[in-house]
Each structure stands twice: as structure tokens, then as C-alpha cells.
Subunit: 341 residues, 2 copies
DNA sequence: TTGAAAGCGTTACCAT
DNA sequence: ATGGTAACGCTTTCAA
């Protein structure tokens, strides 16, 4: 059987296409009886409006595009689930594209989204300077919300977390547990890293402690093997210092979780010899050995709020001047064995 | 400035719309000079074809829908990355919807995909009986490939792994390491679970060992807390047996990885007291303590092959009788500390 | 080699 | 209250 369209419905019902269309859209111009007849017949034939045609006509696609650097860690999965949930709730669907932390791929993803005619874009840039020109061009026509990596030079809604607070709280906890010498392991030098480091500094200041530059470590997160090797070296170096650190703060999920593995390999006792805490949203925190103290980000909220802010902007038609919000959600700290006294 | 369309291009170039369209599509009917002129002008104005209109016309969307139960573990992320990569390669984009292991949500996701007019569907059903009728109806018009949970009553391409072999290899390794009493921890009773158990049985048979029903354990994976509690109980029960197991095989990612945490909590030494191995694609295998021996699935291949089989089917227009393949990729075993002798 | 026109399935304006 | 018609942006016959 052929596909059920407005046309075929109209023919079968012996009405005009426009009447059927209006009836299905519950227009005030159509009588209740007609509406009922049409609706019943339509569902009988299992009529499904062609969304493509609708979109072509209305210029709306009911689709939100998501462009993000990766989706390999629970952090991203959780955000994406939050987004899908919220989008579904408001009758939008989502299209996801991963930039793989690659500026070229990011550009092509943004372009694709643009071409495809999404109604709005949720964008987590790979860093604060990547594809700014393109994004600026896109936002002229398409609402965008920046999430997670919010230090991006675009005037629009942004949804992230209080990064500095996360690290501050972690350090504060370590200080309270009597540890004073805290190293910090960072990934790529990005805006977010800087923010989190600021919290580290702030906590030190408040406690009248100097920040030692030799305690601030940068690692390349490209491959797991490389990361392990680098972290191992750094740890050995730190341990050889006259005043070795008593704790390490991990500044990103991958770093924090893998830190434990390296410590295990080096047979350094956590938390007895060195305590470990850091940003991490992994479900495995409880299952690691020792169980991992973490700074947890409200991923689900990040996702949901991003979506809602975006759809709000879309609905406001993107013209009326909007007060752009730079939303910073609080992180929470989960204490487990890896920082026990 | 208004949007650049074929029409506006044509007007500016003083040609007809069809000429411009053909030129851009590199039609043999158009002279090289014209083509060149059109192409150059188009890129100058940054012309982007309206994919919606194209799709409406051609009935193709260049979009693949993916419906899967969850995307919280690395296993799924890796598959999805493989799919995106392969799709991109063949000029398709992907739309992802998560069924959250919920039959109702799965139905609505499938419906949404159907309405949205995807060219094909990659489907990982939540279990072997879920939404079979709907899927059967959809596949009448839309090519589908079943991945991962391939024990699904639909005649089409399927891409999964040699589940039995994975467990078989793991048991074999344990036997070779001198361990004879092996427990197995399963999640939901599904087709896949059964397959993997078959490998467990097979290995026992081959080694002339009886399978003890008290060694086969089922856990509910709904929540992490619940899982931990259940696993803890089972482990305590097993340890109290006159002949407690010397090893445990985990039959799914979540189970295997969290097993380590429970063992740690119970202060059972792995691998000295009990060895642990199981299906798991986590990147953290190396970072767990002890590092985890795993049965790894070729997730990237699953993703890529699924996409390619699907697009092949789409291209063949779905009519010409196709030999459906039931592809089973081999798993690989990674030995680490958790099964050391 | 080029162009006119129909049509994909909708919606929305304007008549009736 | 209902229907005719144009239009969204494109592809594709068919004619010139």
C-alpha cells in the first residue's frame, strides 16, 4: 500500500487537503465533527505526517544539534542523557556529532549541523579559540548554548560548573585532614584547567600556604598509555623531592581515575602515603581500590538546563534581546577511602 | 542578506534553476565552463543546499537512526564512535536515541525514527522479545541492522560477537592457571547471557568438570548500590560453601568491573584468594587495583560493520533479495593481574 | 547544452 | 466551515 499522506487522506475522505491539514492541526476553522472524522480516519490508516515536508514549510526542524569533543567518559554520557531526556520532554530530538577533540572535525560538524538546519545548537568547543569565527557566523541565524567549556568568546547562554569551587573544596578537605602539601595534575592547558587551578591557589592562599610550581603538573591525555607513562614519571619526580606531596588533586576525569592505577603500579599506598581526589563522574568510584574521593559535576543538570535554555531561546525567536546567562552549577564532593586520614 | 538558494543563484547568474542544480550536481548535460562558473559563484556566496528539500524530493535523508538501550558504559560509547566514524565516511549522519532499557521508551524511539524518515536503522533491542511487532513493521520499509543483542527474531543483518567463545576462553585460561572451581556472575537473563553461559559450560565439559548450579549467580543491574549489595551477598554465600570458587567470571561490563570493588570492600584478595575475569571494555582495566583481566569485544568493528552493512542494504534498495549475514566477531582476552597465578 | 515545469508533503493565505 | 492555490528548495523529466 502506498504511503498515507494528507492528499490520500483527503481523497479518501472526499475533502480538500487543506481541510484535512487544518483538522489534524486542530484549527478553529474546522467543525468538531469534521475534525473527529478526520482524526479517526487518519489514525486508522496510521497516518504519519512527513516531518521533512513540515520542516521545509515551517522552517523548523524540531531538532537540536549537539557538538562535543568526545563521549567516551561517563561525564559526557551523563550530560548527553540529560540532554536527550530534556529534549524529549519538550518534543525535540537531538542529533549528536563528536569532534574528537579535533578542530577540523569540529568545523565540519558545525557546518553539517548548520546545513542540516537544526533549530539550535548545543556546543562544547574543544578549546576557547576553536572555530570562533564559524560559531559566530552560525549564531547569527541559529541559537546556540555553550556547555561545559564555557570560557568561549560567544555572547549567548552558557552552562557549566563552578570549577574553581570544586578544586577549592577538594584542597580544603585535604587541608582539614592535616595534609598541607598538595600536588595537582592537569590535562590540556585550557580555560577550564585555569579555573580549576584558581581554586587550588585560592585554597592555598586562604590557608596561608604558598603554591609550589613544582607541584603543578601537566600531562598529555591523548592516549592512555602515554598518560600512564607521564604520570608515572611525574609521581616519581615528586616523590624524590625533599618535601614530597601528601596528596594529589586530579583536575579531570581521565586523570583522576587513571592516577589510581599508576599509584597501584608504583605500589604507593593510597591514601596512607599519598591521598588522591579529583574531578570524576565515574560510576566506578566505589569500585576502585581504594574507593575514590571525587569532585562530582551535576552532569544531568548541565544537560537539562542547556537544552531548556536553548529551546527557550529558540521559542523567543532569537530576535528579542535576551539577557544571556552564564550559569555555573555547584559541584559536590564525595569523600571515600582515597582521602581517608 | 537572504539565504542563498538555487533560485537566488540562478537569478544572479542569469540562468535557470535547473541549470544551476545540474551544474552543482556535476551533470553530464552541463558544459564545463558553466559548471565552473556556477560552482565558483556558489562557493563565493557560501551556498549550502537545503538538505530538507533534497530529502523531500529524493525521499532519502542520508541519515541513519541508532536505537540502543543505554550509552553509559565505554562499551556503548566505543560502538557509537565506530558507527559515527563509518557513517561519516560514507556521507551519512547519525541520530541517536536511547531506550533506557525501557520497552515503552524503545517503542517511542523506534516510532520517532520511523516518522523522521531515516534511511536505515541500527537497533540494539533491550531484549529478544521487545517490540518485535513494531520492528517487523518498520523493516518492511526501512532497512535495519541488529547489533550486539543479536538474538532477535528479525530476518536481517546482525552484528555481534562470539559470546560463547569469550567465556570459553576465560574459563580455559583459569583452568590452565590451575583453578578448577569457577563461579559466574550474570546480569539479566537474556539471550546473550545464555550464550555466554554456554561457553562456560562448554569449557567445563571439555575439561571433564561438572558445572555446579550454585556457582551460577544472577544479579540485578538496575542500580549500582543494589548490584553491590547483591554481589556482596552472593560472594559471602559462595565463600561459605565447603568448596568455594577459586575464580569468578563476570558476564557483562558492569558486573565485572564492579565485582572488583565488592571484593575490595570484603577484603578478599584478588587474585590470590579469588581470581576475577570477565567481559569488560573499560579503559580503566589497567587502572583498577588489581589490574583487571578482561574479555574485550571489538566495539569499533561492531559499530563500523553495522553501519556498512546497513548502508549496503540501503543502497541495494532493500528490494533485491539479500543474503542476511549473522556476523559474529571474535572477542579477545587480555590477561592482567586479577587472574595472575 | 540549456530551460520550463511538475512534483515531493506540508502549511497558510485568500476565497467561497 | 471548507476549499483552492501558492510556496518552501530541490530534482528530474521533457522540450527546445
Amino acid at each position: 500500500m502506498a504511503k498515507t499522506t494528507l492528499k490520500s487522506l483527503a481523497a479518501a475522505l472526499n475533502m480538500s487537503v487543506s481541510t484535512v491539514s487544518k483538522a489534524l492541526n486542530d484549527s478553529y476553522e474546522i467543525s468538531e465533527v469534521t475534525k473527529k472524522r478526520v482524526r479517526e480516519f487518519a489514525r486508522e490508516l496510521n497516518y504519519q505526517p512527513n516531518v521533512l515536508a513540515q520542516s521545509l514549510k515551517t522552517g523548523k526542524t524540531q531538532t537540536i544539534g549537539i557538538v562535543l569533543p568526545k563521549m567516551t567518559s561517563p561525564f559526557e554520557s551523563q550530560i548527553l542523557e540529560g540532554m536527550q531526556h530534556a529534549a524529549r520532554e519538550r518534543n525535540y530530538r537531538v542529533v549528536i556529532m563528536v569532534s574528537m577533540e579535533n578542530e577540523e572535525l569540529e568545523r565540519s560538524a558545525l557546518r553539517a549541523m548548520q546545513d542540516k538546519g537544526v533549530d539550535g545548537l548545543l556546543f562544547c568547543p574543544i578549546h576557547e579559540n576553536s572555530n570562533v569565527a564559524l560559531a559566530t557566523q552560525i549564531i547569527a541565524n541559529t541559537p546556540m548554548v555553550i556547555f561545559d567549556r564555557t570560557d568561549y568568546p560567544l555572547e549567548t547562554h552558557k552552562v557549566g560548573v563552578l570549577n574553581a569551587d570544586g578544586t577549592y573544596d577538594a584542597c580544603q578537605h585535604l587541608f582539614e585532614s592535616g595534609r598541607r602539601r598538595i600536588a595537582v595534575f592537569c590535562g590540556t592547558k585550557q580555560g577550564i584547567t585555569a579555573k580549576r587551578l584558581a581554586g587550588y591557589r585560592h585554597a592555598h592562599e586562604e590557608n596561608g600556604l604558598a603554591v609550589r610550581s613544582e607541584y603543578i603538573v601537566y600531562c598529555d591525555v591523548k592516549t592512555i598509555e602515554g598518560l600512564h607513562a607521564e604520570m608515572e614519571q611525574h609521581i616519581l619526580r615528586l616523590r624524590a623531592l625533599p618535601e614530597p606531596p601528601e596528596a594529589i588533586v586530579g583536575i579531570a576525569d581521565t586523570i583522576t581515575t587513571h592516577l589510581l592505577g599508576v599509584m597501584a603500579k608504583l605500589e604507593i599506598k593510597v591514601p596512607e602515603e599519598i591521598a588522591v581526589i579529583g574531578f570524576a563522574n565515574t560510576d566506578l568510584a566505589l569500585s576502585l581500590n581504594p574507593s575514590l574521593s571525587t569532585i562530582r559535576q551535576p552532569t544531568k543538570d548541565i544537560g537539562e538546563i542547556s537544552v531548556n535554555k536553548l529551546i527557550d531561546t529558540i521559542d523567543k525567536n532569537h530576535r528579542n534581546q535576551i539577557e544571556w546567562e552564564d550559569i555555573k552549577l555547584p559541584t559536590s564532593i564525595q569523600l571515600r577511602r582515597s582521602t581517608k586520614i
